[in-house]
């Protein structure tokens, strides 16, 4: 008898959080959403990515909320540090008792907190961190609301091969997981299309000279270069490429850089005239189609200096609000997740590619546009020579 009671008590104890969790973080007029980002530390600039999402919440709240409930963002700083991220996510889940999580800019932090979030079972929409491993293998409650590294890597290679007569492709990259998350899928796509890189080169972080790599590239005579490099090294590589008279070779960069800042860093348009980057939006930073979104961010954050990062999370916020609307007034975590999984071909009006989730695939964005300078102006492209 005593043993049966113990088993019953244990069953209740383990099952209780799951049942109690269904409506945790909800009141009649609020939905608490935990927003994690590196608001401090040396990666603090990436927290700009969460600004767009919170501005979108403010807009929805101003329009009356979702079924009368206001979206309340509870911010938690990760400082891009996995240990801080773990402490932060536990606070959001167990102390603040949020309904769901939305955000996170650092893949390292996201990977560290994944087991905690998966076990807790609350929905988590990833808004900025791009590593595939955060949402693959699939967890029932974790969704990727932006292109992952593999989607971006394939998009890079697709763009490279869309240039007529491109047969010889060189790859230069850092030797870390971040760089591989772009270059490996790109390499795989090239291989599927019968292209083997003519040069595979490494440029490590902190290197201040790319002469050795550029001389090898010169020998390899590529039609296109894929550069999976951080911002500083990208600028150094492009500058050196120009110094050695090779700036006519187009270079395809990752989403870790953007056109406007790269131009600012290298100092002249001639150096970046053939530089292209992954750009997940329908328009360039100063373009008409992004302007309403920029105005929205400015309305709620007047001091915000807009960069492409500022728009990164808006697409996933639109998906979240759509699913909350669809879940109806009797919102639970389960029916919210079920509604997310029904999102099909959602045109967010900001992301270049639609969002589609299914029960088996929680990586919602499968492609990305590319940005490059056309006639000296940043321009969003679908493929080589084809404007978005």
């Amino acid at each position: 008898m005593k043993q049966t009671l113990n088993v019953l008590a244990m069953t209740l104890f383990t099952a209780l959080p799951a049942f109690a969790g269904e409506t945790t973080g909800l009141t009649d007029d609020t939905i608490k959403i935990g927003v994690m980002a590196p608001f401090s530390g040396n990666a603090a600039s990436y927290s700009k990515a969460e600004v767009g999402m919170m501005a979108y919440y403010d807009k929805i709240n101003e329009e009356g909320g979702v079924h009368g409930r206001k979206l309340v963002a509870i911010q938690e700083d990760t400082a891009c540090d996995p240990a801080k991220g773990l402490a932060g996510v536990k606070k959001l889940i167990f102390q603040d008792e949020v309904f769901m999580l939305h955000g996170n800019s650092c893949s390292g932090v996201a990977l560290a907190i994944r087991p905690v979030v998966e076990e807790a079972g609350l929905p988590w929409m990833i808004a900025h961190a791009a590593s595939d491993s955060i949402s693959n293998p699939r967890a029932p409650n974790i969704f990727h609301g932006l292109p992952t590294g593999s989607a971006n890597g394939r998009a890079m290679a697709q763009f490279v091969l869309s240039r007529p007569d491109t047969k010889r492709v060189a790859i230069i990259e850092h030797s870390n997981d971040w760089a591989h998350s772009y270059s490996d899928p790109a390499r795989a796509y090239l291989k599927e299309n019968g292209v083997d890189p003519v040069a595979d080169l490494v440029m490590e972080r902190g290197q201040t000279d790319a002469t050795a790599q550029i001389l090898k590239i010169r020998e390899a005579k590529p039609d296109f270069i894929i550069a999976s490099l951080y911002e500083a090294e990208t600028a150094i590589f492009l500058r050196d490429l120009k110094k050695y008279g090779m700036s006519d070779i187009p270079v395809m960069g990752t989403a870790g850089t953007d056109l406007e800042n790269t131009l600012k860093r290298v100092g002249d348009l001639d150096t970046v005239k053939n530089y292209f980057v992954i750009h997940s939006y329908i328009d360039s930073l100063g373009g008409d189609k992004l302007k309403p979104w920029g105005d929205m961010i400015k309305k709620y954050n007047p001091d915000e200096e807009l960069s492409t990062f500022s728009f990164a999370s808006i697409g996933s916020a639109i998906a979240v609000v759509n699913a909350l609307e669809a879940a109806g007034p009797d919102l639970t975590r389960s029916n919210f997740i079920a509604e997310l999984e029904k999102i099909n071909n959602l045109d967010t009006g900001i992301l270049s590619d639609p969002i589609t989730f299914t029960h088996d695939d929680h990586q919602g964005v499968k492609g990305s546009a590319v940005a490059g300078f056309v006639d000296g102006q940043p321009t969003v492209l679908r493929s080589w020579g084809e404007r978005y």
Partner: protein
């Protein structure tokens, strides 16, 4: 390709030479290895950035002011933080240097965050093409400037009493005191000169490499490698070691594997310490008992 790599290696090596030489100046005078020196290099570059870009001062006067500022910082560092712990365990010096280096880096991060800042090109001339050989304006500027600076430095050591004082303090601090040299003040000056020379390296590399708070970290290890290769305490050894390191990195990257560029400095440290611990120009330490 060999000639191209050599020019590029000498250009990189010239920067390493300034860093290695500044480390050696401090080491010779005080027997302290400044583990925070990379951040002094970074700080010099940032001071120059503030003056040039934010305050609109022309490059040359800005560079001179930055070097003076870093000289004073080195002097204050010695007087305020190294002198009080003199006589304590040697690890204390190392930790003090690391701590101050991180403070400098932290200040840069607080002010500029994670931004990668562009420094205007100083010597903006088109590269010279001789057949396949390309000589860039940056390379000419860096090699030329470093050559002049090193010539002045070694001329002062060879032709003035300062050189004799340096030698006296290096051989025996007590002996130097006995002949009337104020060793404490001399050491302060050595820290100042070391910080100023490191700053010159930072100022020269900033227009080529872009500025960020972690800029100095890689230069510190290059400086150590050059010191090790040249021989600890050898001034000309530090310079030659740095040039050899710069060229070796380029050769290894181009002829073996580009991933080797980043680890050449570490490989040199390991190899030299195993095969010739006193480096190319250092002397074996003989202890008489």
């Amino acid at each position: 390709m060999l000639l191209q790599l050599t020019i590029s290696g000498l250009s990189q090596g010239a920067i390493y030479a300034l860093v290695a030489l500044s480390l050696t100046v401090v080491y010779r005078s005080t027997t302290i290895v400044n583990f925070g020196h990379g951040d002094f290099v970074m700080a010099g570059a940032f001071v120059s950035y503030v003056l040039t870009v934010m305050l609109g001062v022309a490059f040359l006067p800005a560079a001179v002011l930055a070097v003076i500022a870093m000289f004073l910082l080195g002097l204050c560092f010695s007087r305020g933080l190294i002198r009080p712990i003199r006589g304590g365990p040697h690890i204390g010096y190392a930790l003090m240097c690391i701590a101050v280096g991180y403070v400098l880096r932290g200040i840069a991060r607080i002010v500029w965050g994670r931004e990668v800042l562009p420094m205007p090109s100083v010597f903006d001339m088109p590269p010279v093409f001789i057949g396949n050989l390309v000589i860039t304006g940056d390379a000419m500027f860096i090699i030329g400037t470093t050559t002049v600076l090193l010539a002045i430095f070694f001329a002062i050591l060879a032709l003035t009493d300062i050189g004799k004082m340096v030698q006296a303090v290096y051989q025996s601090q007590r002996g130097a005191q006995l002949i009337g040299i104020n060793v404490d003040r001399f050491n302060d000056m050595a820290w100042g000169v070391g910080a100023a020379m490191g700053a010159m390296g930072g100022i020269l590399i900033a227009p080529v490499s872009l500025l960020h708070p972690d800029l100095g970290a890689s230069f510190l290890i290059k400086g150590f490698a050059a010191m090790t290769l040249g021989g600890f305490g050898s001034l000309h050894g530090a310079v030659i070691g740095a040039l050899l390191l710069g060229v070796s990195e380029q050769y290894a990257g181009a002829y073996i594997n580009s991933a080797l560029i980043d680890i050449t400095a570490y490989l040199i440290i390991v190899f030299v310490l195993l095969v010739r611990p006193h480096g190319l120009f250092g002397h074996k330490t003989v202890v008489k008992v």
